[in-house]
Amino acid sequence: MAYAGVAPERTTFYEQGTTDKPTGLKSWLLSTDHKRIGIMYLTAMMFFFAIAVSLGLLIRLELLTSGPTLPFVNQRIYNSFFTLHGVIMIFLFVVPGLPSVFGNFFLPLQLGAEDVSFPRLNLFSFYLYMTGAVLALVSIVMPGGSPDTGWTFYVPYSYETGPAAIMAGLAAFVLGFSSILTGLNFVTTIHRMRAKGMGFFKMPLFTWSLYATAWIQVLATPVIGITLMLVLAERFLQVGVFNPALGGDPVLYQHLFWMYSHPAVYVMVLPAMGVVSDMLATFCHRTIFGYKAIALSSMSIAVVGYLVWGHHMFTTGISPTSAKIFSLLTFFVAVPTGMKIFNWVATMYKASIELKTPMLYTLAFIFQFSIGGLTGLPLAALSTDIQLHDTYFVLGHFHYVAFGGIVFAFFGGLYYWYPKMFGRMYDERQGVIGFLLQFIGFNLLYFPMFMLGLKGMPRRYYDYLPEYESLHALSTYGSWILAAGLLLMAWNFLRSLGKGEEAPDNPWEGTTLEWDTTSPPPLLNFDKEIVVTRGPYDYPEEETR
């Protein structure tokens, strides 16, 4: 045992709640237990993820052939499809996903705490999230049609188009508040609720990544909120901020938008890196290589990530001086990111790797995220970006980071922590087959986008020239294989809830604190005060295989 003073207790948080009655709908909807809130986030996010995936499949289906393919999709509807796909996927799933689901469930467990610092605020964050989600869904049925601006809401189009764009912007504003409050809660929890003996450098790397993420959430998210409010002020009060006709500057909108939205990429990816670090140590059964370097590189990514937003704007006519600085700074982000990847690879070197499903997702993350990261470099270079900007190359790059990296890490984390969250084991064989389908489908779906982009295929176009057809078709076939993998995974998780084998407390021989309590944990996580006596990944020498 790595930790002293832990006495497992068999009443789980499913049987004991924070409300009068331990079970029933009310006991969930009013629960301030971080674990129940995490599971409510998970349920809601899987629903929104399914909607966004369906929209993505429709987009790919429309692009299967040159010219109109689906009879009910015209240019306007196609614009709505990619806008809603982006808004739902980014604001309702990828940005809040890892912190809200796994952060809520596992941060207090990994710290040896009973809950987060502000449990009621945590529940309030969840309801803000749901309010934002409802606003986003309402925007679909607004008079004048669904939002069609793209998820970036660029002006001047966003205040010239129908009112749905305003509703979607308002949704993003409310969701931003949810994100800020979650970040605030996590920063406070990490500072004030660590178990006795747990210094900062005894925290698991997932917790470190949440710490870096939480700072970004607190400091960067207000910028997008204010920006969206300025769009409203301009539209309804004719205040000249972004509209040249009123004396405003449309490029200023892009500055403000990307000041948030680029750091938001790190809100998405840092927790993914944290999950991957934890899973690597567990399935290699050894101390992670370069623990401090990985921990501190999360913080440096968080800091440098603030300074690079201008690389989204190289073709907008920003000053050459500024463009050069942003380009240089963007290359700097590759340094801490590269440090992580080298440390992960070094951890695997000569390790006896156990290829369970979560580890497969970890390996896929490293492979796909590396491609996503490296294809970011041509976009960070001023000369090549002029050719590649707003082409399918950008789509390929972004999806290799967001889906191939973050979402794969999310699924890996779900397999990894599923036994702890639900007290049941998933089906390993189905897990592996589902992973293979997703891996093949994903790469078939997104890799052709790099080639399409290099050939000049612009993003967000409803139609294209026949010369692009074969690559588009390949991409669409990939989407079907990926969807099959996702369905199998969903089936596996749902079926295992009832029919899965009972999970042991520590099925993977993990060393972080969440594995030292029961599966699922009791209401207050541990029934005795935790005393941490060694590092998070300290495997005794004789146990290192």
Binding site: A113, V187, H191, R192, M193, R194, A195, K196, G197, M198, G199, W215, V218, L219, A220, V223, D249, V251, L252, H255, M259, Y306, L307, W309, G310, G317, I318, S319, P320, T321, S322, I325, F326
Partner: protein
């Protein structure tokens, strides 16, 4: 639990301190408005750029009790301010040299 006990207890702040800070804020607002009326353009904006952070400082330091907080809270607020400065510098790097 290991506590980062940064919240220091302090005596209640006398009302006259708040009144003085309030008057200072009004005077500074007057300076900003006056500068924008009598010296519109670069001078007005420069004055606003200097006076506004000063006002923010007064509000945070006295009204929001930052003066009586421990170092952890001060570091948090300072880092937010540094980020804000960085964002403004990045913005001006484009607007001034475009």
């Amino acid at each position: 639990m290991s506590h980062d006990n940064s919240h220091a207890h302090h005596e209640p702040i006398p009302y006259h301190v708040f009144v003085i800070v309030w008057i200072a804020l009004l005077v500074l607002t007057g300076i900003t408005v006056g500068a924008s009326i009598f010296f519109p353009g670069v001078i007005g904006i420069t004055v606003a750029g200097i006076v506004t952070p000063l006002k923010a400082f007064l509000v945070m330091y006295w009204f929001m009790h930052l003066k009586y907080e421990g170092p952890a809270m001060k570091i948090m607020v300072a880092s937010a301010m540094i980020i804000l400065l960085i964002l403004l510098a990045g913005l001006l790097g484009d607007i001034l040299f475009r």
